[in-house]
Amino acid sequence: MKVISSRSWRSVFLILIAVGLIALALGGYLTSITRVVLSPVITAQTWLSTRFLALQNYLSAPQDLAFLRLRNVELEAEVSRLQAEIIDLKQQLSETRVLSALVDFARVRPENRYIAAAVIGRDPNPFVKYAIINRGSDDGLRKGMPAVTQQGLVGRIAAVTAGAGRVQLITDPASSVNVRIEPGGAQAVLNGSITGELALEMIPQSANVQTGDLVLTSGLGGNYPGNILIGQVLSVRSRETDLFQRAIVQSVVDFSDLQILLVIMNFRPVDISPLIPTPGAP
């Protein structure tokens, strides 16, 4: 009885102390004591945790690094692919804009039949001005067909193969186009040169040609259809001692940036050589 009673009192006493400590702790009376007691424990915990994490990172780094490198390579490849796609789309957008302008041009002139051709190269010799296009006799192109853009006259087909053609630009030194100058209506001849400059020759002295006058094809000679815009007069040289006036023309077409042109399919140049009298013939 005495032993059981002593144990019971000891248990009750311990329980009372624990409850008291808990009550004091919940009441906040033991804060400073717990701080002092726990501080070294926390320091040791922090030290151990830091070292463990460092060791864990060190051991797992190769796997993470390899994964990151692989992922980096994949992302770089994806970026390159997207950049190439952007460039391709920009090119398509540029071509679409040009084609749209050409379609508008064709709609305004429904009497003509056109075929679009891309410029794929230039003549390898710098003395002549020719463009090589990706349409040929298989597409119905024939020698002499005029080539235009939505801005104005480009030239005419000089030679064709099955799948390609060569266009003589109006800036070629061997090119001559019969033109009309508006608003005066004077007739003249437009010649190219090795520098690509366009010059109006054989302008009558009586013609009143001013800077800014428009130059259009006249249709004379049968080589080009009439009323196709070529450019504007840039400067005029008129001397009383000369038989004819001379002028320099600024073309409306930018020949250095020619990408796509239209070939007029339903125009056939007229061969007037049988009508030209030969010397000595009756």
Partner: protein, 166 residues
């Protein structure tokens, strides 16, 4: 085999010339890749019958270009001839031979084209040709001369490996 390779190389150069180098313009002059190739090959010690390369180049350019057919043929043949002559005279300084051959070849080629155009009654001013096309073209050719020479030296080394002395 060498001639077949020559056709492939010269055809590739013609395509490159028309598609790319025709847009690389100095004033109004451009480089002549086919002439550089013909001259560089003609200067190789072991190369034989290099005039065939000149004919191939002349035919290819004559087919593509609007200049009279015979002009490119004669021009490249003369350029190859000058290169062969220099190879025999200036063999100790191949770089100098390449520079001189390029200069002479460019002048010959351009003046033949001018003559051909004038024969065809195309109005071409000599002074303007020299200032705007010939001199800038020569400069561009000289810039590309040595790279072409090195490329074709390597090509000659591949096609004609040096004999081992036993």
């Amino acid at each position: 085999m060498v001639y077949l390779l020559g056709v492939l190389i010269l055809a590739s150069l013609v395509v490159l010339q028309t598609a790319v180098f025709s847009h690389v313009i100095l004033l109004n002059g451009t480089a002549d890749l086919v002439m550089l190739a013909v001259v560089a090959w003609s200067l190789q010690k072991k190369a034989r019958n290099t005039w065939i390369w000149a004919i191939i180049g002349g035919l290819l350019v004559g087919y593509v270009s609007a200049i009279p057919f015979w002009a490119s043929l004669v021009g490249y043949l003369l350029a190859a001839g000058v290169a062969i002559l220099l190879k025999q005279r200036v063999w100790q300084v191949p770089f100098l031979a390449m520079i001189v051959a390029t200069l002479c070849g460019s002048l010959i080629m351009n003046w033949i084209v001018v003559a051909a155009l004038r024969i065809a009654e195309v109005p071409v001013s000599l002074f303007e040709s020299l200032n705007q096309i010939i001199l800038p073209g020569i400069l561009l050719n000289l810039l590309l001369a040595l790279p072409f020479y090195f490329l074709f030296t390597d090509l000659a080394g591949l096609l004609y490996p040096a004999d081992l002395e036993m």
